[in-house]
Amino acid sequence: MSTRPQRIVLAAALGVVALLALAPLLWMVSLSVMPGGEANRYPPRLLPSAVTLEHYRTLFSRLDMARYVLNSAFLATTVTLISVVINGAAGYAFAKFHFKGRDSLYRLLVGSLVIPGQVTMLPLFLMMKQLGLVNTYVGAMVPWLASIFGIFLVRQYALSIPDDLLDAARMDGAGEWQIFRRVVIPVIRPILLTLAVFTFMGAWNDFLWPLIVLSNDARYTLPVALANLSLEHVQDTELMMAGAVLTILPVMVVFIAMQRYYMSGITAGSVK
């Protein structure tokens, strides 16, 4: 049996699926640089007649998009840093510290992964209101700080740290915090990077919670601002697409740079 025709069929199939996956994104980029009004023509144009960046300029000059970019970048970065520290420490504690009720607590946590996050949003909003955190950056960050998935991810990884290593460090008189910083972190670094990519992309792309908790458009994140833009400027297709490109671009860059860590996180999470 010859493998050549099979190879060609496979390559063609792969190519077609790749085209389907990328076409919407490529068209978005193409639409975003078309001269105003060109998107609303029949038959639809695939490529712009002339490339223009005027819609990107409008986004920044008239629509204050820079503010939303900064909001999103600030929130996603801060959340990522805090989350890595908290969940890294918690995951390590679940793996290596023996405290009363540890295993049942852990089972409770993993079991509660099935609770949809939306269930918590109403009371969480009321709590934020009580604390005066509605429409603040802190309020927007709260649900991301501690993540069950993150703890789970780090714990699975930290289980593989040999106890001897930790004991040896203790014998040398190192304190627990020192051990965590000097011994544990270097070992679990890959999984912390994975957690960081997950958190950053999740926080950047999140929509429902910022929509709920941020009521003042000075604090909007990019997705919330884009949703508003798309509901208000329905006719302005090129502008909308430029907004979409701007929203997607940063996560795409992070993904391309860190995809090894991201992919390994998906498969680590699926082995239960």
């Binding site: 792969l14 919407p24 978005m28 109403l122 949703a227 297709t237 929203t247």
Partner: protein, 277 residues
């Protein structure tokens, strides 16, 4: 730990309590008017035609969109993982790109792809001689259109999980099956699928949980319309809770969703246990 306790478990209990009260705009201003009303919220939900529609839409989206999405992922995984496929890593990354995109932005793009007059989808159909469909303006087509977009957006994620599952199947099994004269379909049916069963179970659970939480797509693409044909449970919860400030009612909607996800997961786990036994 404390953080999860305060910001996760406490709210879950809070939501349950909230769903038994008539918490509304007045209660938001003055807690003293808050009353405990038992299961009244749930009773009125089940009398509310909008809730019935949201329930039906959510099930439709989950039970039709979920399996289709899983099938697409499995197909893509088989394709990317085939022995003779070129540039495996490259294609895997490309297939994953839609998943990385911000949901709101993807919804904006697809709203335009599906545009009755200027969209590429209708243009492509037109080339095949099919009349334009008013995808997002026709109550029959709006939800299928959103399903189509969701498959595009999500298939890459499960694909990565399936590829890992496929790679863990020992090669000898295929060789043995081939020696026994099993064709391609038989090898898939009797080697790949059974060996992939645990992965498939896991993927089904996470996919259904994800699909039952449909929100941003209808919010951006259709605002729940036309004729409420794309209103999901989460969208209804959002509207009840944060547009009309009927938070007691919204909490009840959230708990119905929770119940559905819980039952769905339990059924899945039960099936899995039965298969393993």
């Amino acid at each position: 730990m404390l953080l999860i306790g305060v910001f996760f478990f406490l709210p879950v209990i809070g939501a349950l309590l909230l769903s038994f009260t008539d918490f509304d705009l007045y209660a938001l201003a003055d807690r003293s008017v808050l009353r405990f009303i038992g299961i009244d919220n749930y009773v009125s939900l089940f009398r509310n035609p909008d809730f019935g529609r949201a329930l039906r839409n959510t099930f439709y989206y989950g039970l039709v969109g979920g399996p289709l999405s899983i099938a697409a992922s499995l197909g893509a995984a088989l394709l990317v993982n085939a022995k003779l496929s070129p540039l495996k890593g490259f294609f895997r990354s490309i297939y994953f790109a839609p998943y990385v995109t911000t949901l709101v932005a993807a919804a904006v793009i697809w709203r335009y792809l599906l545009h009755t007059r200027y969209g590429l989808v209708n243009y492509g159909l037109g080339a095949l001689g099919i009349n334009p469909v008013d995808w997002l303006g026709d109550a029959r087509w709006a939800l299928p259109a959103i399903i189509l977009m969701s498959i595009w957006k999500n298939f890459g994620y499960n694909m990565v999980i399936f590829v890992a599952g496929l790679q863990s199947i020992p090669e000898d099994l295929y060789e043995a099956a081939e020696l026994d004269g099993a064709g391609r379909w038989h090898r898939f049916r009797h080697v790949t699928l059974p060996m992939l069963a645990p992965t498939l179970g896991f993927v089904t659970i996470i996919t259904l949980i994800g699909y039952f939480q449909l929100f941003a797509e209808p919010y951006v693409m259709t605002q729940g319309g036309p004729l409420r044909s794309t209103t999901s449970l989460v969208l209804l919860m959002y509207e009840e809770g944060f547009r009309w400030w009927r938070m007691g009612m919204a909490a009840a909607v959230a708990f119905v969703l929770f119940g559905i996800v819980l039952v769905g997961t339990a059924i899945q786990l039960w099936f899995r246990r039965k298969e393993e036994a």
